[in-house]
């Protein structure tokens, strides 16, 4: 006769097992690795303090650690310290961290010829992290590689702006005629096709950080090129981990304003952000990645146990939104787009984000010149949303019942934002279904403009530099639409936006505040046209373990954590 397991015992055993499985969490993806790491749940503890290694828990692997491709906050957070450009940003916090300083150049560029010629001189004695000496022509190679791969911002920032860039990109020229270099003197001269005020910021992009000429023109995801900077990247295990270690050659190069690091950083990737947060809370990891969201369910615990090493920083340089494809049904219909922005419940989305979003409607975030400071939102104050009016607008548009695919990432709270948004679209009369995509491939997938044409989905943008052209030029102008690695997911191609963005792009970064009303007017126009459904500006978590000197750890307004500021107590 069979024996039965006592039902109560079975219940307890299975429930406990379910909880244990959930608490362990899941990695974003798995691949074989000879490097041991605690891949499930908490990130591994770092080695002893004498070796100066800390662990950073990151929710998603960068698009690439090759600067020729990467265009994500996760990648930039590392790459700006590995691939220093001719210019870079001050190593401080707050608004002052958006101040441009010379990087590998001896001084900021001399701008002549009505803003079309930039001249710099390379510092002497520079070496790549592999020991090879740096020469001026390495800059040209970095630009060529960025165009050839192509880097996601090249279509806006590089190819059309540098003389000969377009010819090189199309294969009509073997090199970029607008860049001349002298390896003996270190002089670099860049000729632009038209004045482009943000070009001095573009020179600070990691993709234009100098790399050795002759490095393969294809993306090298696990063995990226050597760079010049306080750090270098080693031990890359795709989708799992990578090490950001101090470049031993950097201190001797004496580049002013760019300090050497104090510690090495082991980055461990785990898509379970709750597990990451708990790891930092329990001191089994040291730093919570700034671009991840701490679940609201953990905030009371963190506030209670770790208030001295936790806070939210409102950088004001990021925007969270749902793109609406104005070239595809139903959102090629203005009324359909208005329905979305009218009914969207920004307050609900903020709560889903653990209360870390400031509800909003304008595309340019508060820290960027051109953010409308006095205008009202055209479709109602960001908050609960007007569902009845949204339903009426959908009916009026004639798009009731239109099928809509909502693209979203998988990690918290982006999945939940997608789920809420899908249900919201259904409630106002569309027939929406959600399509979650693995975080590591999300932006690459929806950026396949030539095949996909996504109707709507989640997107976010953190400033590359404090200039509105960074937002409009990459995300909202017709010229920024690329067949692959596209960032203008909504395929916005409005003549007024195109014309004005091009005109205002000539305004240099230093003159922006004086000319901000022009950008404000354009941003108000964009809000009225409802090309995007903005729902908030993110506040970022500054959260470390008790091993880290919290007061000394800096947040750069553009790149997030400044690894050079990490110190062990």
């Amino acid at each position: 006769m069979k024996r039965y397991v006592k039902p109560l015992g079975a219940v307890l055993a299975v429930v406990i097992a379910a909880i244990a499985i959930g608490a362990c969490g899941s990695s974003s993806s798995s691949s074989s690795s000879s490097k041991s790491s605690a891949s499930s749940g908490a990130a591994a503890p770092s080695s002893s303090s004498s070796s100066g290694t800390i662990t950073l828990a990151q929710g998603v692997f960068p698009q690439s650690l090759d600067p020729g491709l990467d265009y994500t906050t996760q990648g930039a957070e590392t790459n700006w310290l590995v691939y220093t450009g001719l210019t870079t940003y001050a190593h401080t916090s707050g608004l002052a961290s958006t101040k441009l300083i010379p990087g590998l150049a001896t001084a900021l560029p001399v701008i002549t010829d009505g803003g079309k010629t930039y001249t710099v001189t390379l510092r002497k004695g520079l070496k790549f992290s592999n020991g090879k000496p740096v020469v001026a022509s390495d800059f040209t190679y970095a630009v060529e590689r960025s165009i050839k791969i192509p880097w996601g911002g090249s279509g806006e920032f590089i190819t059309p702006n540098i003389v000969g860039g377009a010819a090189y990109s199309s294969g009509k020229a073997k090199s970029i005629s607008g860049i001349t270099t002298n390896d003996a003197t270190g002089k670099i001269v860049i000729h632009l096709t038209h004045p482009y005020g943000a070009f001095v910021n573009v020179l600070a992009e990691p993709t234009l950080g100098l790399i050795p000429a002759g490095f393969p023109l294809k993306v090298q995801p696990t063995s990226p090129p050597p760079g010049v900077g306080p750090y270098k990247v080693t031990n890359i295990v795709a989708n799992q981990s990578y090490d950001v270690v101090r470049n031993p050659l950097w201190p001797s190069m004496n580049v002013p304003g760019i300090p050497a690091g104090h510690v090495d950083v082991d980055v461990k990737v785990n898509s379970n952000v709750s597990a990451n947060a708990l790891a930092v809370l329990n001191n089994t990891a040291d730093v919570f990645d700034w671009a991840d969201t701490i679940p609201g369910s953990l905030q009371p615990q963190i506030q209670a146990k770790a208030s001295s090493r936790f806070s939210f920083i409102n950088l004001g340089g990021s925007v969270y939104y749902f793109f609406l494809n104005s070239q595809e049904k139903p959102f090629n219909n203005q009324l359909a787009r208005e329905a979305v922005v009218t009914g969207l419940n920004e307050e609900a989305l903020s709560r889903l984000g653990g209360g870390t979003l400031v509800p909003a409607c304008f595309f340019l975030p508060p820290a960027v010149a051109g953010h409308p400071t006095s205008a009202s939102c055209p479709y109602g104050t960001p908050g609960i949303g007007n569902l009845a009016k949204a339903k009426a607008l959908v009916k009026q548009s004639g798009e009731e019942g239109a099928p809509v695919t909502v693209w979203s990432q998988e990690r918290t709270p982006r999945l939940q934002w997608g789920t809420y948004y899908t249900q919201f679209l259904n409630s106002i009369g569309f027939k929406a279904t959600q399509k979650p995509i693995a975080d590591a491939t999300y932006f690459t997938t929806i950026g396949e403009e030539k095949t996909l044409h996504p109707q709507t989905g989640f997107a976010d943008w953190n400033q590359d530099f404090p200039n509105p052209i960074d937002f409009y030029g990459v995300l909202l102008t017709g010229g920024s639409i690329l067949p692959t690695d596209n960032e203008n997911f909504g395929e916005t191609n409005d003549p007024q936006i195109n014309t004005n963005a091009a005109k205002y792009s000539a305004i240099s970064t230093t003159q922006l505040q004086a000319n901000s009303t022009q950008w404000q007017a354009l941003d108000e126009y964009t809000a009225k046209k409802a090309y995007v459904a903005v729902f908030g500006y993110q506040k970022f978590p500054k959260f470390t373990s008790s091993r880290i000197n919290y007061g000394a750890a800096l947040f750069n307004s553009i790149y997030g954590w400044d690894f050079t500021s990490f110190e062990l107590k």
């Binding site: 709750s274 209360g355 918290t412 249900q423």
Partner: protein, 351 residues
Amino acid sequence: MSTTSASGTDFSDSAPAGSAGDGQALPAGIGPWALAWRRLRRNKTSMAFGGLFLLIVVLCLLAPVYSHDVAHIGPAAENITGTIKVGGKTENIVSLTDIPIGPTWHSHYFLGADELGRDVAVRLLYGGRNSLEIGAVATLITMIFGTLLGLAAGYFRGLADGAIRGVLDVIWAYPAVLLGVTLGTVLAVGSIGPLHGTNLMVPAVVIGFVYIPYVAKPIRGQTLGLREREFVDAARQQGLSHLRIMGWEILPNLASTIIVFIPLILANAILLEAGLTYLGAGVQPPNASWGTMITDGIDQIPAAFHLVLAPGIMLVLAVLSINIFGDGLVDALNPRAKVRISLTGSETDDH
């Protein structure tokens, strides 16, 4: 997962020697199915758990009634910024930091809300419908294809057997969860015919496919034995077609095996659905199932444990009740069970 194989339905109503009294005649024969039913009925534990499973099914089927008449909210209706009066106090259904309210033990949000402000009790019942539906469809697919393939392989032998066995071995070589995740992910992104993305039949087909070898192989084994029996020989001698022999002679003798497999496969299918959903390859949002509810609730464990507890308990009770009832079914159909038949016509079970 282990398989059980009954060795045949060789029911016997002959009493052990000396049990019915010497020289006394037995009552008229009781058919094997009636015998099995009597044995099952007398297994109070199995019947109780069978009843529990039936109760769960009925409750889940009544989900629309509960949703409309009791909770007054649908399973997908979000209410993130809403409020509710609990004990005279007005509370946010979802707090400003995304912590949902716990059980109110009232008609509204009886088991609390999830982080999207959806009623957990309503989703539990609707989710149960989906989980049970997926389990049932998967079981149907497994049983039909498993039986047909096992029958064909065992009856025809030779090349047909080799080919079918080869396919089954390939499927069996992959761990069920791994194969399920692979197929589920492919179908979630792409499609095969009408099956795509959020269609509930996607996980049902995937799970049904994965479990086919677990049924086909034992069926094949039994068929190999049955095809050598005299009644099959006799049928061949009579000139009956292969199809007729398989359908009318062999298949009825596999009935008890098939019946025994059903609850086993159903329980495993429901569990696998929960596992696949947790791994992102099962039921897709916003559809509810017990698996999606557990997945969604994992991040909220520190502050809203009820989100995982409620579907977890339902899952455990459903699977446990099916398994225990299934065990009782095995015992009832067990040919080694001896039954003493008294003169009054009632019987006792002495195994």
